[in-house]
């Protein structure tokens, strides 16, 4: 789930307003966008990208490793299932408010065809200095810079703030993995943590969590086995129970998904949990030690 420049990216819904805006941004940053999909405009070119009628046709003609969709909720399932059937390895689902039973069908199709879904309701993936897929401000130099710290975030806006804080402190990022704010995600915090643990370009990991669900607790289980330093911030300490905090997944019901439970699980696994976003850079620098700091800042 770390995107690379060589990965062939197909944009679903490329001709819409957002599809157009973000495809131009992705291409300008270095993303290898090889095709766009719109059944009504197959054969045309849009923002310099050839358009195909379906992901399967694009995969056959130019290849397709990654698909990213700018698709409204009612059509999101069909687009995702088609992409999985076309054999894309990684499917980035940006759409928020997809009917839950459609999300289940997307995950079932992905499991059947060996596709990894990131999202739904993710802001996407960034490999600073190389490429990005989704709707993150990879191209804003105050936010992202290449480096050796991996960042996992449920939220796009908060993930942006965290990367900004790191960059300000001179700490660059190896990868930003936006996993999404929905209750049923294709890629969990734990999955992303495992990928960053195995990534040779990553020396340390920042986990940006949220109240609700059990993903941070599950990630803590894996964190116990890791040697790389880890720092976490969990949003929602001040959130009242029983209210959905914007993200469908961010709700505390009973003791499930509470701030205290997540913090405790992560701390027990050796993860440093900070109280405010700007404390992350300091905590991370301390965790990396002198040599690691040197390495992180010198990139």
């Amino acid at each position: 789930m770390i995107v690379r420049k060589k990965d062939k990216v197909v944009v679903l819904g490329i001709t819409g307003k957002q599809g157009t805006f973000w495809t131009e941004k992705m291409i300008a940053y270095g993303t290898n966008v090889v095709a766009g999909i719109n059944p009504k405009r197959a054969g045309e070119t849009h923002v310099g990208v050839p358009i195909f009628a379906s992901t399967a046709e694009a995969a056959k003609a130019v290849g397709a490793d990654v698909a990213v969709g700018f698709i409204p909720p009612p059509m999101a399932k069909d687009a995702a299932v088609s992409a999985a059937e076309a054999g894309v390895k990684l499917l980035v689902v940006l759409t928020e408010h997809i009917p839950a039973q459609d999300v289940m069908a997307m995950h079932a199709a992905a499991a059947k065809h060996g596709t990894r879904i990131v999202g739904p309701n993710t802001a996407g993936l960034v490999t600073p200095g190389e490429c990005f897929v989704g709707i993150m401000p990879a191209f804003v130099p105050s936010v992202f810079k290449p480096g050796r710290v991996g960042v996992i975030s449920r939220s796009g806006s908060l993930g942006t703030l965290i990367c900004l804080n790191l960059t300000r402190a001179g700490i660059g990022q190896s990868a930003f993995i936006g996993i999404g704010g929905d209750p049923m995600l294709g890629t969990t915090t734990r999955d992303a943590l495992e990928a960053l643990d195995k990534d040779a370009g990553t020396d340390a990991v920042v986990i940006v969590g949220e109240i609700g669900g059990g993903m941070e607790e599950a990630a803590a289980e894996y964190a116990r086995t890791m040697k790389k330093p880890m720092v976490a911030f969990i949003a929602g300490a001040a959130a009242p129970p029983g209210k959905k905090m914007g993200h469908a997944g961010a709700i505390v019901t009973g003791s499930t998904g509470s701030y205290a439970g997540k913090r405790k699980a992560l701390e027990a696994a050796g993860v440093v949990v900070v109280d405010t976003p700007s404390q992350i850079a300091t905590a991370l620098a301390a965790g990396l030690g002198a040599a690691g700091r040197q390495r992180a800042v010198s990139q």
């Binding site: 909720p73 408010h97 999300v103 069908a105 401000p137 993930g159 900004l164 949003a235 001040a238 009242p240």
Partner: protein, 375 residues
């Protein structure tokens, strides 16, 4: 979205072929008496979209129309949870032999529909799960299929259901189909009762519609019960914005759920209390103009933090909306900005030039200043 019992029964269960008791919906004690006259000995049930109605005194038996009228008079106007009782379901009494629990819901971990069945019906299922976890049977269903007959048989096997087993198996199948076609998040029958005459009937029903599916269930949405809201929250909902009014005095306007929650957390961290949750993330980032109006309309607000961190949401567009609203509203409380991410150069320039305010470099500093100003 939650639904009251009568709506769940008439819109979901009955059309799915699941037996429900004969009942009538009424809104006054006089109507209750009239309904009881037609139905006979009855149960008078408060209609509110929340649990624990029985414990709150919202469900009573009545043997005669006079009794129904008296009981109805007591229950109408009662407060249960966040709701005032305005309607009653008058239902025929049932002679219960056994009570079961049956539900279909989302298993978010497995990412599949999950059917739950228990012979410990009538109780709060959380209590059953805590005290007798083995008493709850589970069946995960492949979303592209319906449950197979043999899986339903296995779900019910060895529970000594006798002649009722066939009926229950059919109800499980029908309930699952209704769950799928009606985009339920939860469809629960508790209790599902075996009656003295051998019939199996759904005595209560809880239906929660997946909020993301209302666009394709146009007949259901108007029959649902929106959550209890303050006037301000309702104004937010009408503008398509998620607003939660809180009891603090530092107003929050931020984009994205994660950043908004974080802004609230940092307010708390510095000893302040947030006055609201309001996010204008995703497609809603163009609504900052109405959003500023909403947060400033909260009478408790003594200061305001505007915290934008643009990814998809462009900070220049959001700042432009704030500036427009600002000129109309002329805020009387101090406002503190922090702006970063997509469009930040234009956004910061706009706020500086149009409002004469210098945004803070760190959101923590903006929040700290706002907390201090509110004290």
């Amino acid at each position: 979205m939650n639904f009251e019992e009568h709506a769940a029964k008439s819109l979901i269960l009955a059309p799915a072929g699941i037996p429900v008791p004969r009942g009538m919906l009424v809104a006054s004690a006089a109507e209750a008496a009239k309904a009881a006259k037609e139905i006979g000995p009855c149960v008078v049930k408060a209609q509110v979209p929340t649990g624990k109605r029985g414990k709150a005194g919202g469900i009573k038996l009545a043997g005669t129309p006079a009794e129904a009228e008296q009981v109805a008079g007591k229950i109408l106007g009662m407060t249960i949870g966040d709701y005032t009782v305005e309607r009653l379901l008058i239902e025929e009494q049932a002679k219960i032999v056994r009570e079961f629990y049956l539900a279909v819901l989302h298993d978010t971990g497995a990412k599949k529909p999950l059917i739950l069945f228990s012979t410990e019906g009538g109780m709060d299922i959380e209590e059953v799960a805590a005290e007798k976890p083995d008493a709850i049977r589970r069946l995960l269903v492949d979303i592209d299929n319906v449950p197979r007959g043999r899986d339903i048989a296995a779900l019910l096997k060895g529970l000594d259901l006798g002649a009722a087993e066939q009926q229950i198996a059919q109800i499980v199948d029908n309930l699952y189909r209704a769950f799928r076609t009606r985009d339920a998040e939860l469809l629960e029958i508790n209790p599902l009762a075996l009656l003295g005459d051998g019939r199996v009937v759904a005595l209560d029903c809880k239906f929660v519609l997946d909020d993301a599916s209302t666009f394709r269930q146009p007949d259901l949405a108007p029959a649902g019960s929106p959550p209890a809201m303050t006037d301000l929250e309702r104004r937010g909902a009408e503008a398509g914005l998620k607003l939660i009014q809180l009891d603090g005095n530092v107003g929050v306007l931020a984009n994205g759920a994660g950043l908004t929650m974080t802004t609230m957390d940092v307010i708390r961290h510095f000893g302040g209390k947030p006055a609201n949750f309001l996010e204008i993330g995703g497609e809603a980032y163009t609504k900052s103009e109405i959003a500023l109006d909403l947060v400033l309309s909260n009478p408790g607000v003594k200061s305001l933090v505007i915290n934008f961190c643009g990814a998809f949401a462009r900070t220049d567009v959001m700042a432009d909306g704030v500036v427009k609203a600002w000129h109309k509203l002329k805020p009387k409380v101090p406002v503190f900005f922090s702006i970063h991410g997509t469009g930040e150069v234009e956004a910061v320039k706009l706020v500086k030039e149009q409002l004469g305010i210098e945004p803070y470099d760190f959101m923590e500093d903006a929040v700290q200043a706002a907390v201090k100003a509110a004290q």
